[in-house]
Each structure stands twice: as C-alpha cells, then as structure tokens.
C-alpha cells in the first residue's frame, strides 16, 4: 500500500487505511531512535523546511529531529526571524521557498487553513504542523500511536477530551482520528469553550466533567489556550482548575487502568494537577517519543515514494 497524496493537511482527509499505514510505519521507526547511531540514510540530500509562524518547542524540535534522523537537511524558519516581520505575505514566502526547490515544507501557522493555501502554491509536499484552531494531524497520529502501543487497540475504546475544545486543533484532529479507528469520543468543556455543532464531527458532548471521566478508557487533557481568548472565557484560572482541571479528587471516579494524554505544553495546576501529570496514568512522555517516530513515518511516506 502507498500513501497516495501529496500533503498531510488534516486527519479529516485521511482514510482509516491511510492512518493505519502511517501508524504501522511509525511503529517501525520507533526502533531507529533507540539505536546508538540514530540515523538512517533514507532521505540523504533531501531538504525539509520547518516554517513556523507560531512559537513551538516540542513540535518543531520533533519534526527537526525526525528529519535529521532520516539524514534530510532540516532548515528551520521561524516567524520572528524571517521576512514575515517585514510584511511578506504567505503566498510570496511560498513562492520564494519554492524557488529553492525544497522536498517538503512543514508549516505551523496561527491562521486556520494556511497549510491548504501553501499546498496550493508549492509543488512539494506540505505537512500541517498545526493551523489556528483547525487541525494538528501529526499530534493526533502520535496520540493514536501512543494509545495503540499502550492499550493494544483503538477500536471500542472510550476517549474523553476535556478542555478548550473551541480553540483546539488537537481536539479536532483527535476526534476525527479516534472515531475513524473505531473509538467513541466524548468531549467536555465549559459551554464558553464548546464550539457549535462539534457533535457533527462524530463525538458526543457530556456536560459534567465527573461523568466524562468515569466512563473513559483514555482521558485527553487540552491546554487552556489563553493566548487565543479575546475576552476571558472563564472567571479565573483558580475556578477553571477547580471545575475542569484534572486532579486527584476527580481521578477517583476514573477507571483503575485509565491513561492520560496531554498534547503539551502543560499549564501545571490549571488543566492538570502536578501529581496527575507526573503520575502512573500519564503517557505524556510516551507521546513525545512517539512524536518523532510519527514524523519520520510521514516524511518517509511522503518523500519515499516516486516523484511524478
């Protein structure tokens, strides 16, 4: 089987077979990162541009390491140091990068849909590394890989996503990803952070956090994205933490073998209390490890095939 697409823009676009191909390929790549020489020559001579219009440590580093472990030349461009600050449009930036003949562009952008636009302007593959409140496909794929690794399956699991659903690209990608692989997704948030019609994406809204936690096999905690709130969507962090934060008390209702995911970075003490974040249920560091493998798989599947 082959990934017959130029770009990875959304999980919504991917079929179940494609997601499973990516996950099984990523599974093979996990071993590479455990070698002493963590480098394979597969993408030698290929150029991968990480174009980041938003601050990011985890995702950018993960893509960079993935590229380097495959021997590609990874070039990082961040908005603060580029011509973006001089007012160059995304289209012009795209045309200029295109002229340098890269083999892949990884884009992180604050505007939803920017990767779709970039993909129209450039011939090389584009990987969406998070666009506005839209999607973050590689994050969802690494979450799926982590769950599959830990629990052995996705099909039939109950996933609860807690937090700022309205502004979360991770939530959107994960709702598509988990439902496509046969899991049942419940979402819970303060109504001010619950977007209209989210249930059309195939998930169910649960009103009380406690109820959503007690049914879950997997709990995914989202970061409160204060930077995207024009006006505060809740009265105070203290109140949010008490009502929606995952703490020891709420975890008492959870299943014994529940696992917890958090896409990071964590606001410790806000959406998750430190003892839970560092506790035995937490898969946060497995997620980071799998992130590299998933991104290696994406590079391999997009660049390893034939050129037209």
């Amino acid at each position: 089987m082959r990934l017959k697409r130029k770009d990875i823009l959304t999980i919504e676009d991917l079929t179940r077979d494609e997601i499973e191909l990516i996950l099984s390929t990523a599974g093979s790549f996990r071993e590479v990162s455990e070698r002493e020489i963590k480098k394979v020559p597969t993408l030698r001579g290929r150029t991968i541009i990480n174009l980041f219009y938003e601050a990011s440590t985890r995702t950018r580093t993960s893509f960079e390491i993935a590229a380097k472990r495959m021997s590609a030349d990874a070039i990082n461009i961040s908005a603060s140091s580029s011509s973006v600050v001089k007012g160059e449009t995304l289209k012009d930036t795209a045309k200029n990068l295109e002229a340098m003949n890269p083999d892949c562009i990884v884009l992180r952008h604050p505007s939803s849909g920017a990767p779709d636009m970039l993909a129209r302007f450039v011939k090389c593959p584009v990987i969406n590394a998070g666009d506005g409140s839209h999607e973050h496909p590689s994050q969802a794929l690494l979450d799926l890989l982590t769950i599959k690794e830990k629990l052995g399956r996705i099909d039939g699991l109950k996933i609860t996503i807690v937090g700022d659903i309205a502004h979360s690209r991770v939530a959107r990608s994960n709702i598509y990803g988990f439902t496509k692989l046969g899991a049942k997704v419940n979402v819970v948030a303060a109504p001010t952070m619950m977007p209209m019609g989210i249930e059309e994406m195939g998930c169910t809204i649960i009103n009380r956090v406690e109820d959503a936690i007690s049914v879950a096999d997997v709990i995914m905690i989202l970061r409160v994205q204060l930077e995207r709130h024009k006006v505060p969507l809740f009265p105070s962090l203290r109140e949010y933490s008490r009502l929606f934060g995952l703490d020891k008390e709420k975890m008492e209702r959870a299943k014994k073998d529940v696992v917890i995911l958090h896409p990071g970075p964590i606001n410790r003490g806000v959406e998750i209390s430190p003892e839970i974040a560092d506790g035995p249920y937490s898969l946060i560091l497995d997620q980071v490890k799998n992130g590299v493998a998933v991104r290696m798989a994406l590079f391999y599947l997009l660049l390893g095939g034939g050129r037209e």
């Binding site: 990934l3 099984s24 390929t25 093979s28 071993e31 590479v32 495959m70 095939g305 034939g306």
Partner: protein, 177 residues
C-alpha cells in the same frame, strides 16, 4: 506464463543442512556467530539454520533481522514507498562474525544496504553471506559465502522462494512471462 519448479522441500532442507555444516567448518565452530535474516523470508531461513546449527553443535546462537529498506538506493525512484519491516539486532555486534541470510541473491543491492545497516550498529569482525538461491546478474561486487543452489536465470524471470511459515509449503519456482 510458465512456472518451473527448481527445488522441493526435501532439497531445501538438504541445502540448509549443507550450508550449516559449511558455516561450522569455515568458522571452526560457532563462537561469536550472529545470524541476521533479511525480512521477510530471510528471517525464517535464518531461524531454520539456527535450529540446525544449535542441534548440531549444542550451543545457543543469537538470531535477528536486518531490514535494509531505509538504506536502499532507490528510495524516491520507485512509485511506491517500500514497506518498512523489522530490524531487530538482539546483541552487540562488535567483533562478532555476522552471517546475513537471504532467500534469493540477485543484484546484490539489498545486501549492500544490509551491510550498511549492520555497520551503523557496530564493528563486526567480519560479515558473511548465506543465500538459498543465487540467480546471478550481480550489479555490485558481492559474492556469497554459502549458496543453497545456483540457478541461472534470465532478467525477465522471477525466482520465488515459498516457505511453510508464510506460504504453507516449501518450494522454489521460477516464473517466466
């Protein structure tokens, strides 16, 4: 399409037994030997060889797999990405005698890639190559140390090794258009 049966189950077993003895003879025993099969069928042949060797000499032999896909020289040239398979090298290979096992030796490119993988894992004392079938048409200066059977072929023919573990039966056939 014509199908020609080259060797049967019995002949495969005889060939592997002979190779096992050649390995013991050439290496004066089995000390420091590590067997690495190339997925998929090479791994199964490696395990069979290991079983014969262990039965003969009464020692334990490490066996693993080495997938050369990420080291191939045709990545990005074929339409489809080759499927990744498992690389599992169970012990340190420094100063070990590595025996690479594959089902069919053809151009030699896979073996070249496999040797590069192994080199990235350590510095073996030497690398040897055992194959069930050598069909000729080498494109690189690679020569097997142990051969089950030499089968002269044309470029248009396909050599297929079928194994019980995967295909339900042991045989080697040559298919021609």
């Amino acid at each position: 399409m014509s199908i020609k049966n080259i060797i049967d189950a019995k002949a495969i077993e005889r060939a592997l037994t002979r190779i096992a003895h050649e390995i013991i003879e050439k290496n004066k025993g089995l000390e420091d030997i590590v067997i690495l099969g190339i997925p998929t069928r090479g791994v199964h042949i490696a395990k069979r060889l290991r079983d014969i060797l262990e039965a003969t000499e009464g020692v334990h032999l490490p066996v693993g797999s080495v997938d050369a896909t990420l080291y191939r020289d045709d990545i990005g040239m074929k339409q489809d990405q080759p499927m990744l398979k498992e690389t599992d090298i169970p012990v340190s290979i420094d100063n070990k005698k590595i025996i690479i096992i594959d089902d069919v030796l053809f151009t030699g490119r896979t073996i070249r890639a496999a040797m590069n993988v192994i080199m990235d894992f350590g510095r073996p004392a030497n690398i040897q190559l055992a194959v069930l079938i050598d069909r000729g048409h080498r494109e690189l200066p690679i020569r097997p140390d142990y051969v089950g059977k030499n089968v002269p072929t044309s470029m248009q023919e396909k050599v297929k090794v079928r194994l019980k573990e995967i295909d339900g039966a042991d045989e080697v056939v040559v298919e021609a258009e």
